[in-house]
Symmetry: C2
Subunit: 242 residues, 2 copies
């Protein structure tokens, strides 16, 4: 832990006057990955015994959470090895809400990223890239959020392999999305996961309120539980706005 004992220089100075919550609340009945472990709260004690006191159980990917590179790739960074300056970093927001509204299987393409860069400049090294699909508005309805089709597959937006490759080239710190996965619903090969995580770029999934972030100029703070050797863990994520 020695490297975390001291303060670490940020990629860019933070200046902010406002905050927005980019994480979903946690509650029994919230969506969770098929075959996974739902969020469960057991009351162990109540006011007549002095105070309320609960036990939690859940899989590491239930709710807003971080995928560490070690989730898919042996010997890559675990949760506790993600550098602090990657957890508090400048945000870049790319919106594909209209595409996702007409095609639930939409995958952010390298062309989308190039179009964004033509308007806003090159995506900076060390930043966090957020893909705003507005899919998070379905979160309170688990069936619509996971959106399983007649084909048995889930259908929600994600990233294409070529977008993932381009983000690796740009040297970003992490990539976040407001759907259950960086890879689109029908994916079986999790190719975007493999490309990003192999490059030690971490992921944030099940984000909320990305539409409140400006395209550029926010700082995002990723308060991920610091699980030693962890492959994924829950996170409270805040956007700090100018």
């Amino acid at each position: 832990m020695a490297s975390n004992r001291v303060s670490v220089r940020l990629v860019a100075e933070v200046t902010a006057t406002k905050v927005v919550d980019l994480s979903h609340p946690m509650y029994e009945g919230m969506p969770f990955w098929p075959g996974g472990v739902p969020f469960t709260v057991t009351r162990l004690r109540d006011y007549p015994q002095g105070c309320q006191y609960h036990k939690f159980e859940f899989a590491e990917n239930t709710g807003t959470h971080v995928d560490a590179p070690s989730h898919f790739v042996p010997r890559k960074r675990s949760i506790d090895r993600i550098p602090l300056e990657h957890l508090v970093a400048p945000a870049v927001v790319i919106e594909v809400a209209s595409q996702a509204a007409t095609d639930p299987d939409y995958r952010l393409s390298a062309a989308d990223l190039y179009a964004w860069e033509a308007m806003h400049g090159r995506i900076a090294e060390g930043c966090l890239v957020f893909v705003n699909t507005c899919w998070s508005k379905r979160f309170s309805e688990p069936e619509r959020y996971l959106n399983r089709g007649a084909d048995g597959k889930m259908h929600f937006p994600g990233l294409s392999a070529d977008a993932a490759h381009l983000l690796v080239q740009r040297g970003v710190a992490g990539v976040g999305i407001d759907t259950p996965s960086i890879d689109y619903g029908p994916s079986r090969d999790f190719v975007a996961h493999k490309i990003l995580l192999a490059a030690d770029i971490y992921q944030i999934e099940n984000l909320a309120n990305l539409d409140v972030l400006p395209v550029l100029g926010a700082t995002v703070v990723v308060g991920v539980l610091n699980v030693q050797g962890g492959s994924e863990a829950q996170a409270r994520v805040f956007g700090l706005l100018p």
Copy 2:
């Protein structure tokens, strides 16, 4: 959740160039409150099945965590009702490390707070007050951290009732400490808990690295899991330094 959908104005503008981790890592074998639930990780899947995947189990107060006012006081704020501007707020740090080194049962007094104010000015409304006892350096040795005596009671520093009353008067947003509890180890009545939580002031316990924070000028971000109706929950806590 409607109030969290939009951005919220902070108590003070944030300007920061550095970050420090104020939370302990989570691992099996970490200290936990006597009679509570230890942190347990169960591996559900490994690389030959595609990826590493785990289940977590723990009590709501294992590791660095927040106590919501509803933990002790019915009808007071639960975790998800703590205002965002109380989770990202200016930090005030009061050190009692030398007192704690000679007396493990040391309780921060109102006199300590008045002495601090005589040097640094009045503790501001809406800030987070951190009591730095340096007890966190024992965290990796659970027996020394809980420090149970021949009397069967735990012995570690905390806050006195008169200090808690003064912090209520000052209108602070929250109070954090680097020991297992805001109340000192031998406490049976949890009087500081009751005074602070009854005033809707939340608490952060089992903090780390408070000695890296400046006395004034840092912003602390409390990334607590947003458990609906929750009485306590784990938090990743960062200090943002000028």
